[in-house]
């Protein structure tokens, strides 16, 4: 479904992403792990189109999207969430989601008809709100939500574009155990409909959710494989998992 070939990104003298090859298959939850500064978020930025590529190729659904603008990648079915919550803070939860639904249903170069009368948009936004567990909060202003709820909305905005593949950049960042469990449950529910590339530091979540895991260190992918193999991989243990799993 998604295929990266020889992808690189340099910032001055620093090679943030170094000749990465990565595949995400349809129906798969593919986790990307690695220590801080390994280049995971840079890679997500490149796949979503907010950063360019110095070399290499990104193919999505058999098409070369290496030079496609970010908004067109979303339309092609490639959505993302952000590590630092990025929502429309002064809009209600419902308006947040309706805006994302609106982006893919018909032209928004429409200047006369009030949005409020487009019930289809809001019906679908409500359906997504209930999917992410916010159906009680649809009228709340996004900025007033609790952290865990904002993180859920963050993922909801990506889902509202009805993606075929969603890039989740540390969806559990800053969450307590309860919220994390909820996020794990959410990702388990959506995996039937959408492939997931998951960047996450919460190893419990990664090993519970992932079909395959790729490990990134210093901009390079050092291993890819099913969770049990990654757990046993000596190089990975040395570079990253180390003590945490040895215990």
């Amino acid at each position: 479904m998604l295929s990266l070939k020889n992808l690189s990104k340099r910032f001055g003298g620093v090679v943030a992403v170094d000749r990465v090859d990565l595949d995400v298959a349809a129906g798969e939850v593919h986790a990307l792990i690695g220590p801080n500064g390994a280049g995971k978020t840079t890679l997500i930025h490149q796949i979503s189109g907010s950063l360019g590529c110095d070399s290499g190729e990104i193919r999505f659904l058999e098409k070369d999207i290496t030079r496609l603008p970010a908004h067109e990648r979303v339309r092609a079915g490639l959505a993302r969430s952000y590590q630092i919550t990025s929502i429309f803070r002064r809009f209600s939860v419902l308006d947040n989601l309706a805006l994302a639904v609106q982006a893919r249903s018909g032209s928004s170069f429409s200047f006369w008809k009030p949005v409020a009368k487009e019930t289809a948009l809001f019906d679908e936004a409500r359906a997504i709100a209930s999917q992410i567990g916010l159906s009680e909060k649809t009228e709340s202003v996004a900025a007033t939500l609790a952290h865990g709820e904002q993180r859920a909305l963050e993922v909801g905005l990506a889902l509202a574009t009805r993606p075929k593949l969603v890039l989740l950049d540390e969806p559990m960042a800053g969450m307590g155990p309860e919220d994390s469990q909820r996020m794990i449950a959410l990702i388990s529910r959506i995996r039937a409909e959408v492939a997931v590339l998951l960047v996450e530091h919460d190893m419990d979540a990664v090993f519970r959710l992932a079909d395959r895991i790729s490990v990134m260190v210093n901009g390079r992918l050092i291993a890819t494989g099913p969770p049990e193999k990654i757990r046993m991989n000596a190089e990975v243990r040395k570079a990253y998992l180390g003590d945490e799993l040895a215990a």
Binding site: P69, H71, V74, F88, F111, P114, A116, A158
Partner: protein
């Protein structure tokens, strides 16, 4: 009820105002009120990009002035029909906004403010150097535009024509802001990164918003040229852009009535403090009391006057 009142009350006052002034034999104020209505339109157009689109354009006088100059130049060249001159003013202002916007919108923040200012000042110097059309001195139009079958030199007719146009523009803006396009514009102001990430081609929306705003400013410019039958480069000067910006800030950034309220308040204060009855010889320094009031508004009503009112009514 409250909603009806916010439209009916200002509209009612605007409709009876010239009649009252006529009865009191104070026709000067009808002409003064016309000027306010024109600035209300210009400020509303700036509020569209600044308040709703989040684009701090410091060069709005360029479109206002361009619209005015087109009407002035056409009048001097013998084209006085408003059916030709006014659409021409709108089209030229929109085209200027398209070019300036296309280049400026590649920048953000302070750079955007500075580049729009720079473009507007370039336009200013272009018109100053056009000796054929008055240069520094500007140019006088032989008369107001024609084409409606009634003479627009009658201040009553002129006032009501401007009022009708302002109401049409405000209604169009009202529709626009509630449409899909309006929601996207506000979403981009709230979070441009996220707007891109849900699939909107952000640049195109911003540019179109900028052009619509420029077109409305062009119409306001066409009206201000007719107001005094005179067009001068001061209309394009950066101080003019600043004045429009102050109106929007005073009235309420991103508030529907922000532009009109700001225009009314700023021009009324200017009139009040620059006239001799209130301050006598000190009226020369009218900017001082106006400045103090501006400071007070920014400090105590950061959402502007329209914002302060709508908060109370909630």
């Amino acid at each position: 009820m409250n909603k009806v009142l916010t439209i009916a009350l200002p509209a009612g006052i605007a409709i009876v105002f010239p009649l009252v002034m006529h009865a009191l034999d104070q026709q000067f104020y009808t002409s003064f009120a016309t000027r306010i209505l024109i600035y209300a339109m210009a400020a509303a157009s700036l509020n569209l990009v600044l308040g709703y689109g989040g684009m701090v354009s410091f060069g709005h006088a360029a479109f206002f002035g361009a619209g005015a100059y087109i009407v002035g130049i056409l009048a001097v060249e013998g084209v006085s029909s408003l059916w030709i001159a006014w659409p021409a003013a709108i089209v030229v202002a929109a085209a200027a906004a398209l070019v300036i916007g296309a280049l400026s919108l590649r920048t953000r923040g302070v750079y955007f403010i500075m580049i729009t200012l720079a473009f507007a000042q370039m336009m200013y110097y272009v018109f100053v150097s056009m000796k054929a059309y008055g240069g520094d001195d500007g140019l006088s139009m032989p008369a107001r535009s024609t084409g409606l079958g009634v003479s627009l030199s009658n201040d009553f007719v002129w006032y009501y024509l401007v009022l009708v146009l302002l109401m049409i523009i405000l209604y169009l803006l009202h529709r626009l802001l509630r449409s899909r396009f309006g929601r996207v514009i506000e979403a981009i102001r709230e979070n441009e990164t996220r707007a891109t990430a849900v699939g909107y081609p952000v640049y195109r929306y911003k540019l179109l918003c900028f052009v619509i705003s420029g077109a409305i400013a062009g119409l306001a410019g066409a009206l201000i040229a007719n107001q005094t039958s005179y067009v001068g480069p001061a209309l394009l000067h950066w101080v003019q852009s600043g004045t429009l910006m102050i109106m929007v800030i005073l009235g309420g950034v991103g508030r529907f009535w922000g532009g009109p309220v700001g225009a009314v308040v700023l021009l009324a204060l200017e009139e009040l403090f620059s006239g001799t009855p209130l301050l006598g010889d000190y009226s020369l320094h009218w900017q001082l009391p106006v400045g103090v009031i501006l400071l007070a508004v920014v400090l105590f009503a950061p959402q502007g006057i329209a914002g302060a009112f709508s908060q109370k009514s909630q």
